[in-house]
Amino acid sequence: MVDYKVKFWDIILPRVQKPTRYLGNEVNAVVKDLSRCLVKVALAFPDLYEIGMSHLGLKILYSLINNTEQWAAERVFMPDTDLEAILRDEAFPLCSLETVTPLAAFDLLGFTLQYELSYATILQMLQLGGVSILAQSRGEEEPLVVGGGPGAFNPEPLAHFFDFFMLGDAEETLPQVLFFLEQNKQLSRAEKLLSLSQIDGVYVPSLYMPDFDMNGCFLGTRPLHANLPRQVQRAVVVDLDAAAYPEKFVVPYGSIVHDRLVLELFRGCTRGCRFCQAGIIYRPLRERTPAKLKELAKELVRTSGYDELALSSLSSGDYSAILQLVTELGIELAKEGVALSLPSLRLDSFSGQLAEQVKQVRKSGLTFAPEAGTQRLRDVINKNISEADMIGAATDAFAAGWTGIKLYFMIGLPTETDEDVEGITALVRKVMAAYKQAGCRGKPRVTVSVSVFVPKAHTPFQWAGLIPRDEVLRRHNVLRQSLRATGAQYKWHGVEPSLLEAALARGGRELCAVIASAAELGCKLDGWDEHFSFENWQQAFRDNGLDLAELAARQYGLDEPLPWDHLDSGVTKAYLTKEYELALAAKVSQDCRENCLGCGMSLLLEGKDDKDGKGVCHDARLD
């Protein structure tokens, strides 16, 4: 047997730019003797180490798997171009970090599907790792390839490359999958997949078939066997306190994107923003208790040596005990010289008191996301923040000592007009004026970060298309012109990546061939400007008889079958339809903490043990 580790460390690593990201021996990395493990899992993040290591989901699954003695999880990331070139030149396979084991030698190879722009990278990693790209041509000895994360809610563009997908909370599904694999090593791939398909949250794409009529019109996706569910249901962790959470974070040597500890306060969000996929697919709201969070924080600080801890959630300010937690945890951590940060606060939850507390712990940057410039458009997207709320929050923040603020907006939202675009500028002016009202002299630093709205599956906007590229650019210019005089800094993310994202996010299996072509053309790490090639992607669509722009702009009819209809997020299509219609009428819906909107989560939660009522879903109790 080749000693991969010796060759990798002695001959390959000295030739690469940032070797520390490939060492795999960081503090708290788990290195097991794989020959003694019954199930070997490679957890792959299809991006660079610095991005992947910042991701909480990877840490959760890594510790969940490794906490079981006879299972092993190792990490693998996309190598940077210098290492990739060496691997290809030397025909050295892409290996896991911990024991330098080729990907092909694992039982299970799991990819996280965080964003569409990572899809070509997945194919590159499979190829580099010596794993067959097409699921149907994989041999018995090859790993089962599984995908999870937000992308699993419309995995059809990847259906040919994956043996199965896991929908929803993997803390629930993955242990069942691994236990099954441990007990059934003698079964063939096909037999394993058939059995796995019976586990809640597991979707085996080869067992489902899209149907088309004679004109090639999509009719829906149906199961191939009678005992398969017509709709695959998402898995849900009911009690987050009891769910696995890493007690140790792997501590990188070099600095990574989010180089700090992260505490997940809760999962889900009750706000109901209509563009937001996370707001749907992580329902219902489930909180960890302050006691549990404090216990976790203490342990994480002790085992990692980090000096910063971030409280993270979709909207951290909505945590029911936020003020108590920030105060108490802030005091405890300050004693140990650890700073507390709150990266995702909503404007309206940023009260004067919370502003004071957050300032005490750390004066980091403040980021708020009004998303749209006018009240009308905010009503369309159901971002329930009024202008008064925003200005109030900004004034509080300035009074508490902040001198800068970052505002996130989207352009291209359904029903948007130039008035809405220019409304962004009007709002920015008012935020700047609030600085003076707060008694500060001079001008605040205001950064306006603008991205293009990309419709996603399982949201009320899933039927809407992206506006054409030229129109996006025109609105971007309108905004840039009108912002110029304000002195705010304008950050624009470009339209091409959003077009691609939109084309991939709502497509079906016809995109598998496109992604394969793109990978062959060398596409990879498309989230990085320096690697992203729009030309190559356009070529890949063209080579398969498709048009990227057309697919990005595609408008679905409300009664048209959608490529992800056979996957159940827990939220019903009837609810999404109603929300879409309300949006077009610029009518808001309430926060579902205040009033149950009947989204359907109660049906999914039926029969789940939730006697403590920690899963905050009024829906579940109103029925």
Binding site: W9, D10, L13, P14, P19, T20, L23, N25, E26, V27, V251, Y253, G254, S255, V301, R302, T303, S304, G305, Y306, D307, E336, G337
Partner: protein, 222 residues
């Protein structure tokens, strides 16, 4: 307050760490061991930890030093805790308490000892080259600094140079701080040896004590 010098080894698995990475690794290890490092005063507080001498990426060493100021007097158990929490490949060799007013170790270090294992065919013809270097009156080398070339005579900065045929290794004692700095690569180039980074190994740092060199752990301080 307690001021401490720590001697440590940076072995092969850690040789790829940059100076900055290494500092972060130590800071986090010290926090894991719950040792109370003193912080500088002011707005941007930083922990009072410094290295005696930077080490190039890719080079291993058994003679690295940290100079740390703690807020409290610590016992041996505290340093055992620290040694245990270091990542694989970083080894604590020794520690000593020093008077608080001692100048920074960085400013005291004046020489470094290096070793380079030789291949069999290299050591034979090397004796002559070493003798040639040592008998030279001057050894001018060119250095680039801020895009300008500068010529430095490194002969007076080479304190010792020997090719050990029996152990087939090259040993060098070179100025490092104090009178100047000689990089091992510069000597290897003059000896026409390929400067493979993975081969060079630092064995010790020295501070001047009167007219002698002494290891930091042994030097008398007052």
């Amino acid at each position: 307050m307690m001021r401490v010098w720590i001697k440590f080894a940076k072995e092969s698995p850690m040789r790829f760490l940059s100076h900055l990475d290494l500092m972060r690794v130590w800071q986090r290890a010290i926090r894991r061991a719950a040792l109370p490092v003193a912080y500088s005063a002011g707005f941007n507080r930083h922990p009072k930890i410094s290295f005696a001498s930077a080490l190039a990426v890719g080079v291993t060493s058994e003679g690295e030093y940290l100079d740390i100021l703690f807020d409290k007097q610590l016992d041996g158990a505290a340093f055992e805790r620290l040694a245990e929490t270091l990542p694989h490949g970083l080894k604590m060799v020794d520690w000593r308490q020093i008077p608080e007013a001692t100048p920074a170790l960085m400013s005291l270090v004046c020489a470094a000892q290096w070793e380079l294992p030789l291949q069999a065919d290299e050591s034979r013809h090397l004796q002559e080259a070493v003798q040639g270097l040592l008998s030279a009156v001057a050894l001018p080398v060119q250095r680039e600094r801020k895009n300008r070339l500068k010529t430095v005579d490194i002969r007076p900065l080479i304190y010792r140079l020997e090719a050990d045929e029996k152990e087939s290794c090259l040993r060098m004692l070179l100025a490092s701080g104090g009178e100047g700095v000689v990089r091992p690569g510069e000597v290897l180039k003059l000896l026409r040896l390929p400067a493979v980074e993975g081969r060079v190994h630092r064995t010790e740092l020295y501070v001047a004590s009167g007219r002698c060199f002494q290891e930091p752990m042994a030097v008398l301080l007052n």
